[in-house]
């Protein structure tokens, strides 16, 4: 990727632009704060990166993002996304560019972090329902020898399907779980924000790789 900081700026813009939509999704089945919390976190990420100027070390930038999200987002998304970025940072330590193999390792590490922290598995109406299919599609593209933007595009398409899938299932984790079968018909806000992050990275990679 051309510049990790430009990529992060794109992620921040996408989350902030979708603040209201994510909050509305959360109103329907949760506690109406997902967009607000994520936007607050990414505003803080922007400020932190501007102030700390961490350079082009992808691992260092992602670590800073993880720590910032943990200390500013709150709710469940803070620990989950924060842990995801910290784990991805570990997989990208010392790198200034990201190729397909490193991206796959980062995605795998991020998903592992979310599973450890949230004690969730696929099929429980969470961000994992977008991210795990995305990872599968990404690694399949990688096995076929496709480029990073192409692999990301495959991952994004799979995440979109995953978001659709969350409409058909009952929430069993998070505050939406208290709704039981009344959660059917609503898409999961966390899966949706994960999709937005992947879609943004895909657009960024297409334009910059």
């Amino acid at each position: 990727m051309a510049n990790i900081n430009a990529a992060i700026e794109a992620l921040a813009q996408a989350i902030i632009a979708n603040k209201e939509m994510l909050t509305d999704l959360d109103s329907a089945i949760g506690d109406a704060d997902h967009g607000i919390n994520m936007a607050r976190g990414f505003e803080a990420v922007r400020a932190k990166i501007a102030a700390a100027n961490p350079g082009d070390d992808v691992g260092a930038v992602l670590k800073l993002i993880g720590m910032t999200l943990i200390s500013t987002v709150g709710g469940a998304s803070g620990p989950l996304y924060g842990t995801a970025f910290l784990r991805a940072a570990g997989a990208a330590q010392g790198k200034t560019t990201v190729d397909v193999e490193i991206a796959a390792k980062m995605l795998e590490a991020a998903i592992g972090g979310i599973k450890d922290r949230g004690k969730a598995v696929r099929g429980e109406k969470t961000m994992l329902d977008a991210l795990e299919p995305a990872y599968d599609a990404f690694t399949q593209g990688m096995a076929e020898g496709q480029s990073l933007p192409a692999c990301l595009a495959l991952a994004t398409a799979a995440a979109a399907k995953g978001v659709e899938y969350t409409k058909t299932i009952i929430a069993t984790k998070g505050r939406a779980s208290y709704l039981g079968e009344r959660s059917i018909g609503h898409q999961d806000p966390g899966a949706t924000s994960s999709y937005i992050l992947l879609a943004t990275l895909t657009d960024f990679a297409k334009a910059n790789v």
Binding site: I36, V73, G74, A76, K173, L179, G180
Partner: protein
């Protein structure tokens, strides 16, 4: 949205400033953090209690910081769990050398953030234990939920575990009595009207003029079902029956009762509810030792109430009746 605020982003900060200005004899701020602790913190040689959660539930939890209850309270954004660094600061500020008990309401985010704070404190060598309150019977516990929600019954945990700590008990003993409260406390609520998170600017749900939501959570999360509003007696009976179906309380047993307002309910109506609760318990020959009626665990301006019943044994009774001196709960 019509609210007495200056700026939605500053509500929690300005509230905390207001609390400290109102109650300097009880509390002080941990500078730079959304944490308030007892004015004389850390209390040496006493197990400390820290609770917290999203803001919007006042007087929970800052109102219970004082002798006989909490040592520290952490205020998250409205309806959002505080972050690990904030909880960690509270733990450091109150630890008097005998360890710290974290009292957590059972929500996915709260549990994760407090867990991370406990890991941070452990790494510093501070003894930390935790309990998770899950008193809401509205949603059944099952393998496919994260368990029941923690609501107004949490105040009984603060009261009783706080009294135990004040008597000089060690961390394991304080944790044990907190767990005993959790095992014996049940709550359920209902709402007549929604509330608006300041940063969201609009209500998170809508109820028709004659419609109520039974089992409503304290963040506006939906409950079990909606129905046409009934009389106070019928509604109280429905909630109390759900509670009593969930815990074995027999004739001759002693209980404490809390009829809790969600923020927008007149005290008058809470007393009307309490009349029915008291009558039903008396009819079953269950002895109500102490009753609390008021706003203890609110949900911003939501109209509605919850009922909490705590089954007592001699230890819980003694600790419940022990003195407390806090901004929101004083008893002698």
């Amino acid at each position: 949205m019509k609210k007495v605020i200056n700026n939605a982003e500053q509500v929690v900060e300005e509230m905390l400033q207001g609390i400290v200005l109102a109650h300097p004899q009880y509390v002080k701020r941990v500078e730079g953090f959304d944490v308030i602790v007892r004015a004389n913190s850390p209390v040496q040689g006493k197990v400390a209690l820290v609770s917290g959660g999203g803001s919007g539930h006042e007087p929970s939890h800052g109102g219970y910081v004082g002798r006989g209850m909490l040592d520290g309270a952490v205020a998250g954004a409205v309806f959002t769990s505080p972050t690990p660094d904030q909880v960690y600061e509270a733990v450091k500020a109150v630890d008097g050398g005998k360890g710290v008990l974290l009292v957590i309401k059972n929500y996915t985010g709260d549990v994760m953030n407090f867990d991370m704070a406990a890991e941070m404190a452990d790494a510093d060598g501070i003894k930390v234990a935790k309990v998770v309150v899950n008193d809401d019977v509205a949603v059944e516990n099952s393998t496919w939920t994260t368990g029941r929600r923690g609501i107004a019954g949490t105040v009984f945990v603060h009261k009783i575990a706080g009294a135990k700590a004040e008597k000089g008990a060690d961390l394991a003993e304080v944790q044990k009595v907190a767990e005993k409260v959790i095992a014996n406390v049940r709550s359920m609520g209902m709402a007549l009207s929604p509330c608006t998170v300041p940063a969201a600017g609009k209500p998170s749900f809508v109820l028709a003029e004659n419609e109520v939501e039974i089992g409503m959570g304290i963040h506006g999360e939906p409950g079990t079902h909606r129905e046409t509003i009934r009389t106070a007696d019928e509604t109280a009976e429905h909630l109390l029956n759900k509670i009593l179906a969930d815990i074995a309380i027999k004739a001759g047993d002693e209980v404490a009762v809390m009829v809790n307002g969600l923020g927008g309910t007149p005290l008058m109506e809470l007393y009307v509810v309490n009349r029915k609760v008291a009558a039903m318990l008396a009819e079953k020959n269950i002895k109500t030792v102490k009753t609390y009626v008021g706003n203890y665990m609110t949900s911003l301006e939501m109209a509605g109430f919850s009922i909490t019943v705590l089954k007592l044994d001699s230890e819980l009774k003694e600790l419940l009746l022990a003195p407390a001196d806090t901004p929101a709960l004083v008893q002698f």
